[in-house]
């Protein structure tokens, strides 16, 4: 890692779910929550704002959203103000951009915020918005959205490795159980035992309702600062130690193997090698469980287990507190919901809170020092990874 050191020093989130609130109101709400959570943060110290927003044009009929978010949050950025769009990874893209700006000396204090309003009066319109994440002219007319694509991924993984519906349900049960410890999660107050999950309706076979993350409204924000400013805000920062990204196709015809996520192997290797650690050093990981099969393949591509063993990794509880590492303690996309632009920010906030020991013990990774955050976007064609270290020196 070159450039100045950078750390997350705080953050806040709105409640995720089916919210009786507009896009702008969600931005106001997260701004208010941020200043409540960080009384030492002064608006005039924030020189830059990076907004992760995937589809405000489709979901909220609103463009030029970065200055709108700034106004709603009560910020007047004087250096860099911009939106980052990378579909499901838009939030992490905002954090990576803020990190890069601070490391390069172009910013000292930056807010990375994600806002998404996905629930519309017409679900069909919302589904059309999800469809145009794909190659709209060539895949869209066939009815391509995320569920049928990830269903084909699941079908191939089951065919090639014998992965089962029960193993996929183990992922969903774990993440929903973690979400029961997170009042801001969409499914905080709903339980999903495995036998119930296996009886939920099929959405895109073999994927059932409980295998799929939701259409969710929500916003989250974190504050990143240059190393020398960290002590003004916290003594428990989350240091950015590595970042990696890989993109290898867009049209579904060019996907190559559905079950070997080469992009994640490359992106995580980049990020881990910058941090000078191995995947075995991780205490927790926030990975992109947009579908249960995604988390299973992510175990494999991250190198936590061999190809084909992701299902067993889930069923054997190796991602639980007390397992190899804690995976998705926040509740994952499955339990928290997936407001596209806010998800990556919310995951980073969980890492910050884990390092600070500020989460319930039922989801706390013991002695958490190293964490990885992963987002895929679209049809798993892009993978974005960040590695954080808690406490310690600059």
């Amino acid at each position: 890692m070159s450039g100045r050191s950078v750390a997350i020093v705080g953050g806040a989130t709105t409640k995720f779910g089916l919210r009786p609130a507009t896009w702008s109101e969600l931005a106001q709400e997260v701004g208010a929550a941020l200043f409540r959570a960080m009384p030492e943060l002064r608006a005039e110290d924030v020189d830059s704002l990076f907004l992760g927003a995937a589809e405000p044009e489709r979901f909220a009929f609103q463009s030029h959203v970065a200055p709108l978010a700034a106004e709603q949050m009560g910020l007047r950025p004087t250096r860099i103000l911009q939106r980052t769009e990378l579909a499901c990874a838009s939030g992490q893209a905002a954090i990576r951009s803020a990190y890069a700006a601070i490391a390069a000396g172009l910013s000292d204090v930056a807010v990375a915020v994600g806002v998404e309003k996905m629930n519309l009066p017409s679900m069909a319109e919302a589904n059309s918005a999800m469809g145009c994440v794909m190659d709209r002219a060539w895949d869209g007319p066939h009815g391509a959205t995320a569920p049928p694509f990830f269903a084909m991924v699941a079908q191939r993984h089951m065919l090639e490795y014998g992965t089962t519906e029960e193993q996929m349900a183990a992922v969903s049960e774990k993440n929903h159980r973690f979400a029961n410890t997170n009042p801001n999660a969409q499914f905080f107050d709903k339980t999903f035992p495995r036998d119930k999950l296996l009886r939920l309706p099929l959405i895109a076979p073999p994927l059932r309702l409980g295998d799929c993350s939701s259409m969710t409204d929500g916003a989250a924000a974190v504050v990143l600062v240059a190393g020398e400013r960290v002590a003004r805000y916290t003594d428990r920062p989350a240091w950015v130690r590595g970042t990696g990204q890989y993109s290898d196709f867009h049209n579904l015809a060019n996907a190559g193997s559905l079950t070997d996520w080469v992009g994640l192997r490359h992106a995580s290797r980049q990020a881990l090698s910058q941090a000078k650690i191995s995947v075995r050093d991780l205490d927790l990981a926030e990975v992109h469980d947009c579908f249960t099969i995604s988390e299973i393949i992510e175990y494999e591509a991250l190198g936590l287990c061999a190809p084909g063993e992701g299902g067993a990794f889930a069923a054997d509880g190796r991602g639980e507190v007390g397992g190899d590492l804690v995976v998705n303690p926040r509740g994952g996309l499955l339990g928290c919901g997936h407001p596209l632009g806010a998800t990556g920010i919310s995951q980073a906030l969980e890492v910050f809170q884990q390092f600070a020991g500020a989460v319930p013990s039922t989801r706390q990774a013991p002695d958490a020092e190293w964490a990885l955050v992963h987002n895929l976007s679209g049809s798993a064609n892009v993978h974005s990874v960040m590695v954080y270290q808690g406490g310690g020196a600059v």
Binding site: A124, W138, Q155, P205
Partner: protein, 182 residues
């Protein structure tokens, strides 16, 4: 099982589609079809996944002209011989804009499939449930995504033989899908 006529055609598919090389994708023929319906009559452009197909709208109108004749085709880089899907106007490798059109096989086998049982985009709700899949085209290194008709999703299986089928879309447009082979 594919019939003899189909086999003959599939075998010839990778020859250039006409003896002399056709104009490049960048230079489509003039469009002689009637102008599209008045805006008020069509569904909003931003809620319609089917692409605009005429030479007024796209440099790939030849793809749709051929599809209307029953031929699935794509572009190929003449320098490298690489088949490019979806059809393109420039090679992503050598960046030449002088691509040639070639017909593709009209048969393939299902590599993976699923079905949309809920959550269809606007305009497709009435088609639920519908099956989609990735299909390995016979004899070429292309795996195309598409709708699969002709059998309920519960009757499909990986490895199943399907054929390419053009179908009409509103406003005189055309698109392709797969149909389970008899």
């Amino acid at each position: 099982m594919s019939g003899p006529a189909t086999r003959r055609r599939a075998a010839a598919t990778l020859a250039p589609a006409s003896p002399t090389r056709e104009p490049s994708a960048a230079a489509p023929p003039p469009d002689k079809r009637p102008t599209p319906s008045k805006p008020a009559e069509r569904r909003p452009f931003l809620l319609d996944f089917f692409p605009l197909e005429t030479a007024r709208d796209t440099r790939l109108s030849r793809f749709f002209d051929r599809l209307r004749e029953g031929r699935l085709s794509t572009t190929r880089c003449p320098k490298e011989g690489t088949l490019l899907w979806p059809p393109r106007t420039a090679c992503p490798s050598c960046h030449t804009e002088e691509l040639e059109w070639v017909d593709l096989p009209d048969r393939g086998r299902i590599y993976a499939f699923s079905a949309v049982l809920a959550g269809a985009p606007l305009g497709m709700e009435a088609e639920v449930p519908f099956a989609v899949g990735l299909v390995d085209l016979d004899g070429v290194p292309l795996r195309l995504f598409g709708r699969i008709e002709g059998a309920p999703w519960t009757a499909l299986h990986v490895g199943q033989s399907v054929r390419v089928e053009p179908f009409p879309v509103e406003e005189g447009r055309v698109f392709y899908r797969f149909r389970v082979a008899p």
